[in-house]
């Protein structure tokens, strides 16, 4: 560094460099911020060194250059660097630190975004839990009750839709298989709504039962369901009984 500094009193960090980017003079502000260094490159973050090497040339225009500096306090400081070449071997450089507002705002945005993300995540977890519960309810809405030696009574509860049938189907078929059942009585007394896809799946379940050699009987059909179930009767020759009592009587299970 030269003995008489021309930059010392500059109110901003300022440097004088030679064409190899060696520091030949600096302002007190610069020294306070960065300490004493031999080269501009020593002040810079590794990701900014190539940029500085590339742009600090006498023939390059003097547009401001954004660079990251390493401060004495080990922080990274983003700054606009303005420069003017005095001659081919000397350049004056003024460093204008960027205000940190944009970083702060960006950090706030990140926090907000994270919170949104967390809320989303909680909602998703809640949804998964609800779905699990719903599935359990579905599975419980077709208890298989053994009556007599080879008869199974299956009262269906709630709405009849494809999800419900999917949920109870394998359970029913397993039960029928394991208990060596001859007749499966599906009681619809506690059934509420019947969806179109529910009827289709119900039909395929009866088909499976038939293949397993099991007779399916439907009972407890309400007037509002009769129309929807009508075609089952024709298409599958399913047996319908008006009440559970009449089924049990016909099977000689009650007198």
């Amino acid at each position: 560094m030269t003995s008489i500094s021309q930059l010392a009193e500059c109110p901003l960090p300022a440097l004088k460099l030679d064409s190899n980017l060696a520091i030949t003079d600096c302002s007190k502000e610069a020294e306070a911020l960065f300490g004493r260094c031999a080269s501009l490159l020593d002040l810079l973050d590794s990701g900014s060194q190539n940029k500085a090497r590339h742009f600090f040339k006498p023939d390059k225009s003097s547009a401001a250059l954004e660079l990251n500096f390493k401060t004495l306090t080990e922080e990274l400081l983003l700054a606009d660097v303005h420069s003017r070449w005095e001659s081919a071997s000397a350049v004056n450089v003024i460093i204008v630190p960027k205000d940190n507002r944009i970083n702060e705002i960006s950090n706030q945005l990140i926090t907000l975004r994270k919170r949104l993300n967390d809320t989303n995540f909680d909602l998703l977890r809640e949804k998964e839990r609800t779905e699990l519960l719903l599935q359990q309810v579905r599975e419980l809405s077709a208890p298989c009750i053994k009556i007599g030696r080879q008869q199974l009574l299956i009262p269906l509860f709630g709405d009849l839709d494809s999800e419900k049938i999917e949920a109870v189907r394998s359970q029913i078929l397993n039960e029928v298989y394991e208990q060596d059942v001859e007749t499966a009585i599906i009681d619809l007394t506690a059934m509420e709504q019947i969806a179109a896809d529910g009827v289709t799946l119900l039909e395929s379940m009866f088909q499976s039962l038939r293949i397993m050699g099991v007779e399916g009987i439907i009972t407890g059909v309400k007037p509002e369901h009769a129309k929807q179930l009508h075609f089952l009767k024709d298409a599958m020759e399913l047996r319908f009984e008006s009440s559970l009592h009449s089924v049990l009587t016909s099977l000689n299970l009650v007198k």
Partner: protein, 219 residues
């Protein structure tokens, strides 16, 4: 013609999130999520870095571009159906002082795509809360990410703390800082260094560490 990283970078910088999302969704009809991250979004963000090095854009522009990129990553992720069944657990985070998080989000997404359950904790997470969450949730994998080279010591410190946990999670280290670091960097038992998403995918699917991890490319 299919969208190129350069074009996408321009859309990010122009804040054109609708257009960017539309093109990305078109791209996704022919490509996997992983291609999207590895071949398109990462190069687009690296391109943003080049533009900065060429003094064409400023850090303020990078903020906008990141926000748009983030939007695209999140929106593209919602389309994916999760695989049912018992899920393995991964926790993903960046150490205190690390603010770059786009890479971490991609890592989370890749785990999810492979049927894992993921806790994405974000960047800049203090060690104490990271450890506390891990104790509660007991993830099988803890993935740590750093883009800033100055965060490497923190990464080592975090990794050491996670190694102490009694349920012994596997610790994955990745991110720009890790992939350009000295190969001698952290070769501890239970710590896996992963260079990029392709290696991560291989690791997820085979459980084996890439054997070329001593030949890092400078990215």
């Amino acid at each position: 013609m299919e969208i190129q990283p350069k074009e996408l970078a321009d859309l990010f910088l122009a804040g054109e999130e609708e257009k960017a999302l539309q093109l990305v969704q078109q791209y996704l009809q022919q490509h996997s999520q992983q291609d999207l991250y590895h071949q398109l979004l990462t190069p687009a963000m690296y391109r943003i870095g080049e533009l900065w090095e060429n003094n064409i854009i400023s850090v303020a522009d990078e903020h906008l571009a990141t926000a748009v990129c983030d939007f695209v990553v999140s929106a593209a992720e919602l389309k994916r159906e999760s695989i049912k069944g018992i899920k393995r657990k991964a926790m993903i985070l960046g150490p205190e002082g690390e603010g770059h998080y786009i890479g971490m989000k991609m890592v989370s997404s890749l785990f999810k795509e492979n049927g894992w359950q993921v806790h994405y904790m974000g960047p800049n997470l203090p060690l104490e809360s990271a450890i506390e969450s891990a104790k509660r949730w007991k993830p099988e994998v803890v993935a740590l990410s750093a883009a800033l080279v100055y965060r490497l010591p923190a990464l080592q410190q975090y990794a050491a703390a996670f190694r102490e946990l009694d349920f012994k999670p596997v610790i994955l280290l990745g991110g720009r800082a890790v992939s350009i670091a000295d190969p001698s960097f952290i070769r501890e038992e239970g710590t896996v260094v992963v260079k990029d998403l392709q290696q991560l995918k291989d690791w997820i699917q085979t459980g084996k560490e890439a054997d070329d991890d001593f030949h890092f490319s400078i990215g």
